[in-house]
Subunit: 527 residues, 2 copies
């Protein structure tokens, strides 16, 4: 079955569905003015990518492989496939810089066509950037093009089929171009769900979830995306690999885990087999107040270590609670509200009731104040909206960006303090640094930071300095450079420190074996 | 803290602690005679390994690295480090064939000494077989020695420390030479447990659990060993890698999962950081009867897919239930007993009571008959004993061996039928083929087969034919060649089919990068 939903193209320099863009409410604008001073920093009206550099004979050859209508070289299509959606990506696009535009956008359908495009690219030394939803925030769609005969975006938008459903094993095989809502709609027809809801859900793709080890807002209940994957197929320039003989096994290293997180640098994922669940009959989301971030985080640890997790579990620190980004209309609420926790439950009525009662008893026992369902409902309705808010803030001269990490529980306080200090001291006076925990494990958790500051003259340099300081702090604290946003080009220097020289050599060896011409996403992932 | 327990050396041609060996009860002998006809097939009284081939100058150099008393070249030590404990391994040793004996046994202490030994071996082109507990059943300790200047067993027996405990994060860092009971004793001093109890538990080592992706009898509650690992350090001939920045992350491929299952072919694991749990306050094991293997397996699927698993969950098929290998004194019980399921619960009294009630309600609702705690207690007391029984049966001319696989739930019946048929038709008339399920996942389960047959003239060739037929059936059914016994040398031809040509090339590329001289476990893992 194929998703028939037409793909919503995002604006080249803004997030999301252009029809859904929203201006900041007046009340918020006044507060933003107070905090940062409003500036007028509009995007350029029209930007054009540089002339495509791919030789016409090569374009013709490509057309022969996938059909003429599936090789696009017009400016608009190329602009829409330029970079991802990090704040630096947006700032560059807003300034009219589309220098990273591909020469052509090629839309193969099916594994055989992907294989043909990769063989063509290897033969002619053309760089290939696999493209799913375009939501990357770590520079993973801005490949190096030096020394190549050209650069094409390999757009998986035509590969949108639900290839198989196994309701006995509770697995589904999905094509990589399916966007989050498309995959969920196809599964819902069988009464199933994947339960994977990252903030990018509305636009990100199945292939991207796998290639970047995405983690969604319901990870406490459904797990990380890489934990859902039981099989996958990937086309490389030197052959296709199909993995997934069993849920788990001892047949050597788990090569699935080598392709998950490979960010298009080893191959193009052409199908993913995932564990699915029955679509929930009921859902319930609610809010809790904690006296401090530490008290709330300790409660999360208690839940994770007692195997008693809700489906959604999220805790904002004092600053994020006060700002409450999820609800722009309430920005500027009381400053002394402690820390907001959101808990969510999904399943059958009996499951939800039992789990909710058990979790609530633990939280109450540990000192939380129940806030009822309203904060939960507010959160669930606004949970994909923050990136829209960023665009409005950029228009008004406020730099907003996020970064995230993870560590073991005993290191959480240090990591939080060190990254906060690095951001605060590097980005400029009056910056806001917010944080939440949204992914927990028995042994540790993620920390997700949001930073807002008045845009300096060169906001990209401003952010890069802050990002470098925060990244250095993460590595110095022994934490990961990214819990769920992948490496892209932005994180490669710190990945090298995280996995060490031997780890880097392993990645390079695998890359050299599968992609000896080095055409796949050059400069991405591999330090 | 170091384990001070002296390591129990297993007999070179028998399983386990020589002091614990047990003869078959009379009642069982009579039945074995009836089924297979008793033969007298004793092991040779004394066997000597061939003269060690390592040049004396090299042995001296090795002594300089780790100390003279930690390089052993005597026949007895070399015999005890010859191969593992598969039935073919035992049959060879019983026939006096110790051709695979190492030239020397070297016992480094600590990472630096391991690194020094690997550098020495690479320099002199000496093959190295990392040795933990010696319990391998897939030929993983019988490396190729052709074209090498010698072969040494790198015995990790001196590396038995608990290096760190983090009771906040609930992790522990263990050295690879710790045997199962030693690791549990060190953790128990902190009120903690790993909860990893494979049948080889009493002798197998932490390093071996990691290197082979072991899975224990409590995997329903504690997970597979690879799922417990959050960090590890491995020394390779070209450098040491330390991984484990966080419980999970998106910092590229998960390289931990490349070293887990690498069976000493990529490097020597020098420490493992594992998730631990509070030691259970109470345990309860009980038995259930199902009318058929299918009914019981469907109940396991229901439990796994509803997130309602006991700590132990095991189901014997009709044949295994009738034989009941776990209780030799009861061999030959009624033939019409349906299928025995064992459920076990561990935790606080409240956890055990709640989980037991919920699971029992499901099982009763699906048609199981409660058998009370006696079958559970019998199972738990006998659960490490089956390998001893094998030795007695070999003495009496009965070939006994096991093999195992895993698949998705919808393929379980086919895999069971096909492997049974392959074994039955290949091993000779009158063979017994028994099976149980002991590891379950949301999407599938393992199948563990035990085969007993009258020993032919050449029992090794007899078993190899049966093993090949069963392995072909697994691959033809799309299942894995091994759920938890690793690849060794025995499974390499089928691994190549399971992961395909591209997968094999990836393994070879990683091997070439980390071990360019190819000294680590040559012939093991890599097809």
């Amino acid at each position: 079955m194929t998703s028939e939903t037409p793909t919503v193209e995002m604006h080249p320099s803004r997030w999301g569905d252009p029809a859904a863009a929203a201006e900041l409410p007046e009340s918020a604008l006044a507060l933003v003015d107070l905090a940062f001073g409003l500036q007028d920093r509009p995007a350029v009206a029209v930007a054009h990518p540089p002339e495509g550099g791919l030789a016409p004979a090569l374009v013709d050859e490509l057309r022969g492989l996938v059909g003429g209508e599936h090789v696009l070289v017009d400016d608009q299509t190329r602009a829409l496939r330029t970079r991802g959606k990090s704040t630096p990506d947006l700032l560059r696009a807003r300034a009219g810089d589309l220098a990273d535009a591909p020469d052509a956008v090629v839309r193969p359908d099916g594994r055989a066509e992907v294989e043909a495009v990769l063989a063509w690219a290897a033969r002619h030394h053309v760089a290939v950037v696999p493209f799913g939803g375009g939501t990357c925030v770590t520079g993973g769609l801005a490949a190096r093009r030096d020394a190549f005969a050209g650069l094409v975006s390999l757009d998986l938008v035509r590969m949108k089929r639900l290839l198989a459903v196994d309701e006995v094993s509770m697995t589904a095989t999905l094509e990589p171009g399916l966007r989050g809502p498309e995959a969920e709609a196809l599964l819902a027809a069988h009464g199933l769900t994947l339960g994977h809801y990252p903030q990018s859900f509305e636009h990100a793709s199945i292939g991207g979830f796998a290639a970047t080890r995405s983690s969604g807002q319901s990870s406490a209940g459904y797990g990380r995306f890489d934990a859902m994957v039981v099989g996958l197929t990937a086309a490389t320039p030197t052959g296709t690999v199909a993995l997934g003989s069993s849920p788990a096994n001892a047949a050597g290293p788990d090569l699935r885990q080598l392709l998950l997180g490979s960010e298009g640098a080893f191959g193009v994922i052409t199908s993913v087999t995932v564990r699915v669940r029955r679509a929930p009959e009921v859902t319930a989301y609610e809010g809790w107040r904690w006296p401090s971030f530490t008290a709330g985080a300790e409660a999360m640890r208690t839940l994770a270590q007692s195997g008693l997790l809700p489906t959604v579990l999220r805790l904002s620190d004092e600053s994020e609670t006060a700002i409450n980004l999820a609800d722009p209309s309430s920005i500027g609420g009381t400053d002394d509200a402690g820390c907001l926790m959101i808990t969510g439950y999904e399943g059958t009525p009996e499951q939800v009731e039992a789990r909710r009662a058990a979790v609530s008893a633990v939280l109450t026992g540990l000192g939380a104040t129940a806030l009822g369902t309203e904060p939960g409902e507010t959160w669930v309705h606004g949970r994909f909206d923050a990136p829209y808010l960023r665009d409005s803030l950029l228009d008004h001269g406020v730099l907003v960006e996020t970064l995230e990490t993870a560590t073991f529980w005993s290191n959480r306080e240090r990591l939080y303090a060190d990254v906060r200090a690095a951001l605060t001291s590097s980005i400029g006076d009056g910056a806001l640094v917010l944080c939440h925990v949204s992914h927990v494990y028995e042994t540790g958790c993620s920390l997700y930071f949001t930073v807002a500051a008045r845009q300096a003259e060169d906001p990209i340099a401003q952010w890069q300095a802050a990002k470098a300081a925060a990244s250095d702090a993460m590595i110095a604290a022994g934490a990961t450079i990214t819990h769920h946003h992948a490496v892209g080009t932005d994180h490669t220097p710190w990945l090298a420190q995280e996995i060490g020289e031997v780890g880097v050599r392993v990645l390079r060896a695998v890359k050299a074996e599968l992609d000896p011409a080095g055409i796949l996403n050059p400069g991405v992932l591999i330090p």
